[in-house]
């Protein structure tokens, strides 16, 4: 049997033990419940959960995080359907058709369809991770230090250029993250950098403090805008309505949306899959007029794509060590905390971990059918009553506990709050946060590979642009950095062409 199939089989046996199952089930429930509350995103849920995984066995920790990841991607559909409030940004398109369906008395069926669609998208994505990651890992074994350096640069450039409106601000944020990563001991010479005599900084600024602080506190503080003292009670009863949708109506939508989600997930920085999938479903539909008014296909497209890029985003993360999304960056941090270095060697050094994680993404997606549908009918009417004014201090308390638990140090808590304030200021001045996190996580690896490359070449910088892979990666970097300008120029040309047409109104 091929080694991949051997590893998949062995990993499946490893994840089917009670601890791992408990982690997956608990994580899925937690993810669905947390993200059903408006104001808590999937990113925040995972950022809060990571400190809890410190003392756990690797597969239990990864199972918990996989469950939260998939659960949180789906849970946002519940307030979207019941209240027309997307619980997560990914469920904006869900609200367009889910809420009208609920108003038609089909809330239960809509939530069930959302859960099943998310499950299907997530399972297809997990299969793509199992199939695509190993060959990509094999290819990336050919990467030496110069190539790895440029892969990281490509990852940073794509995040900076494509995630957000302003590339300059994205690059500045990435640079800030890279500089944060230089604090502490120089990993080549062993000398201290930027510690200013503070003992606690000798080991560097913990990535966890930056991640938890920047991804948790700013959105938590923004909850203050919702402070009314009351929750979001829903008048809509959740009842099962049989016969509202059939698999035959939506299976093609599921497949197409999942493929869109997988491609989007693999490309670092790309984050518009929900709208792409929704528009494609509308274009291909025989009843496009129903979209926005309770279309079964619209809801299925929105929810299947939401989960379809989850596992796929881990493909570049696990094989190249370059995260393609906020959550992938957090998962990279979680793997580092567990002592695993993402990259091609992970597939040979710890195959049970990487293939086990793939199975956990598959299993937790399947669990959504149970928890996303059944739990919704039992709990969510009450969960949505939690007022934001009570939610906010609870989130901050969890953040403090989690930040402290990592190293038993209040200094980490202070650091998390410092970066929370920095993140809040960045958001106020419209700077993206994701490039900072990715810069922090990848900065030391980028520097290490750059310096090793220069050491290998005796200081000759031509090693960085002499190989064919390096040239391709450099070209990709230039293309990515030029993309916003090209996009702007093309839009301007289209506008001018439209304005000069005699038929333009």
């Amino acid at each position: 049997m091929s080694p991949v199939i051997d590893n998949l089989f062995n990993a499946l046996v490893a994840v089917l033990n009670w601890d791992s199952i408990l982690g997956m089930v608990g994580g899925t429930i937690l993810g669905v419940v947390l993200s059903a509350v408006p104001g808590i995103s999937a990113t925040m849920a995972i950022a809060l959960a990571i400190p809890f995984t410190y003392g756990m066995a690797p597969l239990v920790a990864l199972g918990l995080l996989a469950g939260i990841h998939n659960g949180a991607s789906q849970g946002g559909a519940i307030p979207a359907v019941l209240l027309n409030i997307p619980g997560t940004p990914g469920s904006i398109c869900t609200a367009w058709d889910g809420y009208p369906l609920a108003r038609q008395g089909k809330a239960g069926a809509a939530i069930q369809l959302a859960a099943v669609s998310s499950a299907v998208g997530g399972m297809i994505s997990a299969v793509s991770l199992m199939l695509l990651a190993p060959p990509l890992a094999t290819i990336s074994l050919a990467f030496g230090p110069p190539e790895i350096f440029w892969v990281i640069v490509v990852g940073l450039a794509s995040i900076a250029a494509m995630l957000g409106d302003d590339m300059l601000k994205g690059l500045i944020a990435a640079g800030f993250g890279l500089l944060i990563g230089t604090v502490g001991l120089d990993n080549v010479t062993g000398g201290e950098r930027f510690t200013f005599g503070v003992l606690e900084l000798v080991n560097g600024i913990p990535e966890l403090a930056v991640m938890v602080g920047m991804f948790t506190l700013p959105p938590a503080w923004e909850l203050v805008q919702q402070f009314t003292g009351a929750g979001h009670p829903s008048n809509i009863k959740i009842e099962h309505t049989a016969g509202v949708w059939r698999v035959s109506q939506v299976w093609k939508v599921w497949i197409k949306s999942s493929i869109i989600g997988i491609v989007n997930g693999i490309l670092p920085g790309s984050a518009i899959s929900a709208f792409l999938a929704y528009n494609e479903a509308k274009r291909a539909s025989k009843t496009p007029e129903l979209f926005g008014h309770g279309s079964i296909e619209g809801l299925a497209a929105a929810e299947s794509v939401n989960n379809a890029d989850n596992a796929a985003a881990m493909i570049p993360t696990l094989t190249l060590g370059v995260p393609g999304s906020n959550i992938a960056a957090l998962m990279l941090g979680a793997l580092l905390i567990q002592g695993f270095q993402p990259g091609p060697q992970l597939f040979t050094d710890a195959p049970i971990i990487v293939y086990g994680y793939s199975w956990q993404m598959f299993i937790t997606s399947a669990l959504l059918i149970l928890f996303g549908g059944v739990l919704a009918n039992r709990l969510f009417g009450n969960i949505l009553r939690i007022p934001p004014v009570m939610l906010l201090p609870l989130i901050i308390c969890i953040m403090v506990a989690g930040s402290f638990a990592a190293e038993n140090s209040m200094f980490d808590v202070y650091l998390a709050f410092f970066f929370g304030l920095v993140g809040f200021a960045m958001l106020h001045f419209k700077f993206p946060i994701a490039p900072v996190i990715i810069g922090v996580v990848l900065g030391s690896k980028a520097e290490f590979n750059l310096r090793v490359s220069l050491l290998l070449s005796g200081g000759d910088p031509s090693i960085l642009y002499s190989g064919p892979i390096c040239m391709v990666l450099i070209a990709a970097t230039i293309l990515l950095l030029s993309y916003p300008a090209i996009s702007h120029w093309r839009a301007k040309r289209r506008r001018l062409a439209g304005g000069s047409s005699p038929l333009a109104s």
């Binding site: 500045i172 120089d186 003292g229």
Partner: protein
């Protein structure tokens, strides 16, 4: 799906005003130039990377400043010609936001002195009451119940200690 979130730099928000960009670009320039000069005290091998990043940030900050100044000049000309209104995007609920940040900072300072349990119960109670939550039973039971659950989870299940107070060795 991990879409760009409002709190992580979403593309859906209104862009920054030119004056905001001028301020932020000046901060970026000041920060990067400072890093560049501080890194000069490091050994040559150690200073290459931070200095290279600082230079890139100076370039980006400078471009951002030029862009903001041009945008401000264009906006001023448009306003003077009556073609545009003054653009204001004030922070939503600035007083509430400032107060919750202050409460959070006081809470963190208190955790270091009073321990997690006492500080958290007080923080949850005071925050909820200040911002309008008035159900007395829930106001008392929620902080105690929630903090109790967190304490149990960390100390008993995960065997991970929480910050303790000088008054009680266990909380």
């Amino acid at each position: 799906m991990d879409a760009p979130e409002t709190s992580s730099g979403a593309a859906s928000e209104a862009p920054a005003r030119p004056s905001q960009d001028i301020i932020s670009s000046l901060v970026v320039l000041a920060f990067s130039i400072t890093v560049f000069f501080i890194a000069g005290d490091l050994p040559v091998q150690s200073q290459i990377f931070p200095r290279a990043v600082a230079v890139l940030m100076v370039i980006c900050g400078g471009l951002m400043l030029i862009r903001a100044l041009l945008a401000q000049r264009a906006a001023s000309a448009a306003i003077a010609a009556g073609a545009a209104a003054v653009m204001r995007t004030p922070m939503v609920a600035p007083l509430k936001t400032g107060l919750i940040i202050l409460y959070s900072l006081l809470y963190v300072a208190a955790v270091g002195q009073l321990g997690f349990v006492i500080s958290s119960i007080i923080f949850i109670f005071v925050t909820a009451h200040t911002f309008g939550f008035r159900k007395p039973v829930a106001l008392v039971l929620t902080p105690i119940g929630f903090v109790g659950c967190v304490y149990f989870l960390f100390e008993r299940v995960l065997h991970t200690p929480l910050p303790t107070s000088p008054f009680f060795g266990w909380m």
